[in-house]
């Protein structure tokens, strides 16, 4: 699992939608059961793995989450005549999940089998199910009006391309949305925005990230040695090619340069400024953030030898890169 996803999965008032491909589920399950010894199919395994992770996270953070299981490709199942059998299989997967319900994690009353592109019935049924779960999550949650207002404001803020992506806590609390609030109210607003995921405070605490979408994108970039078709598996995200002679090693300056080069449309959330100096400041800050959450690590052995080495952790793999001390 991408480190970035691990980082973002913890949150207050969260509805988790676990999606599996519904079409063909019955066949996949039957095939897995027919093995010796009998096995579970990939969708079942993935669902249980996610549930395990979610359960752990919400329990550790004393949060409450709601889980919905959604089977997709209903239209294909109908076309191929496997709808009723796939629905039954989906219900069987759901039944096995519900056994893991806990005080921290509750399940929607039933799974949904949908066509994700259907803008009428299926869209309405998913929204309706989310509303039911939201009702349970939000029950008795009365908050001061300014708490909702601050969250609304941060929603707008996230869409403003010109707004800073990060800032100090003081700068943040100096924003106009907080004007007139008592210092105790500021503390509450800050805590709520953090818990609801509108801002991110990394372990170092300052500066704070005001655009989680920007940070999520940046944290998903992986460092990689030169591509090797024989050994590379499925390269899933934008990769930054590190030094050819020392695979996985890269100077901080080069890392910043390469981050700044990521400009294709799928990564538009990075919103690099046109001004190169400004972009470099942001890239440097980004490297610091990545260090802060352990996506990029400094190798202590290299610090001793005078050349700090960064290692990047992504999807469980450790790739080393080098930070030259200037």
């Amino acid at each position: 699992m991408a480190a970035a996803v691990r980082f973002f999965v913890s949150a207050e008032n969260t509805v988790f939608l676990i999606l599996i491909k519904g079409q063909g589920l019955d066949k996949d399950m039957a095939k897995a059961r027919a093995k010796s010894p009998p096995d579970t199919c990939e969708s079942e395994k993935v669902t249980l793995s996610w549930l395990s992770y979610i359960k752990e996270v919400v329990t550790i953070h004393n949060q409450e989450g709601r889980v919905m299981l959604i089977g997709t490709h209903r239209d294909s199942a109908q076309d191929r005549g496997s709808y009723s059998m796939d629905l039954a299989a989906l219900e069987a997967v759901y039944s096995s999940l519900v056994r893991h319900e806990s005080p921290h994690l509750k399940f929607a009353p039933c799974p949904l089998f949908i066509d994700t592109l259907d803008l009428h019935l299926d869209q309405a049924s998913v929204w309706s199910a989310i509303e039911v779960e939201a009702f349970q999550l939000l029950r008795d949650q009365r908050v001061p009006k300014y708490i909702n207002a601050c969250s609304d404001e941060m929603e707008l803020y996230s869409k403003d391309a010109a707004a800073p992506k990060y800032g100090s806590r003081d700068e943040f609390l100096g924003m106009h949305v907080f004007r007139g609030l008592h210092k105790d109210q500021l503390v509450s607003a800050y805590a709520s925005l953090l818990k609801l995921g509108y801002i991110i405070a990394l372990p170092s605490g300052d500066p704070i990230i005001l655009k989680p979408r920007w940070f999520a994108a940046a944290a998903s970039i992986t460092l990689s040695p030169e591509p090797n078709p024989e050994t590379d598996g499925n390269i899933r995200t934008v990769t930054i090619i590190t030094e050819r002679d020392r695979p996985g090693y890269i100077t901080r300056g080069a890392l910043c340069d390469r981050l700044m080069e990521v400009k294709d449309e799928a990564w538009s959330h990075l919103e690099w400024p046109v001004n190169e100096d400004e972009a470099r400041i942001q890239a440097n800050q980004l490297v610091d953030f990545l260090l802060d959450i352990g996506i990029v690590l400094v190798d202590p052995a290299s610090i001793r030898s005078g050349a700090a080495v960064l290692t990047q952790v992504a999807s469980g793999d450790v790739v080393a890169c080098c930070l030259c001390v200037l």
Partner: protein, 240 residues
């Protein structure tokens, strides 16, 4: 100090003579507590390591109470915990419970000076920092601020999409963003695989009657749509 199991055995006469009662340990069920528990001289009541989830109604009679400490499995404080029931209450300690909220009636209790609610890990985020503040007056001060202002229903949630790559997560998010009767029946979705997590707020007009009655006419959902996680990466996770 008495064990809570011993409470039913105490005579009313004896209880009436108590000014301070410290009960400790696993309680008998609330319904077994003496109905006519006479506590009207009680100044201090401490119930520690109990397992009940609501404060027993019989404690309403302790009108002279100055200090109340309950450490149990409380999920909410009773509506009657107010200035009428406890006009002289100075110190309320409900630490180490399972509270989600605190009533604003606490802010109107004339003699109350301290509300302690540490280690209630489910407290709503706006209360939590004050409940965990080292200053014992911080929480009550904040509750008074809340009482002076306008309270409303929380209407923000997070929605996280999880699953294998190409299962339809981004298509579903795109679909959920389309609203209105003028939209076509089917979404034209031609996006390639999601490469990095998309975090996007989506507003949704609520149709759920109870949710609307609760005061949520528009639900604000902060969607997180991460790239699909291949099965190979998932199976390293601890299984249930």
């Amino acid at each position: 100090m008495v064990h809570t199991e011993e409470l039913p055995a105490l005579t009313s006469q004896l209880l009436q003579s108590y000014c301070a009662l410290r009960a400790y340990g696993h309680p008998t069920p609330i319904q077994d507590w003496p109905v006519n528990l006479v506590l009207d001289r009680l100044y201090q009541l401490v119930l520690i390591k109990c397992t009940f989830s609501r404060i027993p109604d019989c404690l309403r009679q302790a009108k002279q109470l100055r200090m109340l400490q309950v450490q149990a499995a409380l999920t909410e404080l009773p509506r009657w915990l107010d200035a009428t029931t406890y006009p002289h209450l100075v110190y309320l300690d409900v630490s180490s419970n399972d509270l989600r909220n605190l009533p604003l009636t606490l802010a109107t209790m004339p003699e109350l000076m301290f509300v302690i609610a540490r280690e209630n890990t489910r407290l709503t985020p706006h209360l939590a920092p004050h409940a965990n503040d080292a200053d014992p007056t911080a929480l009550l001060r904040y509750l008074k601020l809340c009482a002076k202002g306008v309270m409303e229903q929380q209407r923000h949630i997070r929605v996280m999409l999880l699953g294998l790559p190409m299962v339809g997560k981004s298509a579903l998010l795109e679909c959920l963003k389309h609203a209105g009767s003028s939209t076509p029946a089917r979404l034209l979705h031609d996006r390639v695989r999601t490469q990095c997590p998309v975090i996007e707020p989506v507003e949704h007009r609520v149709k759920h009657k109870q949710l609307a009655r609760q005061g949520v006419d528009t639900l604000h959902c902060l969607f997180t749509d991460p790239p699909g996680t291949p099965a190979d990466d998932m199976f390293g996770l601890e299984s249930l």
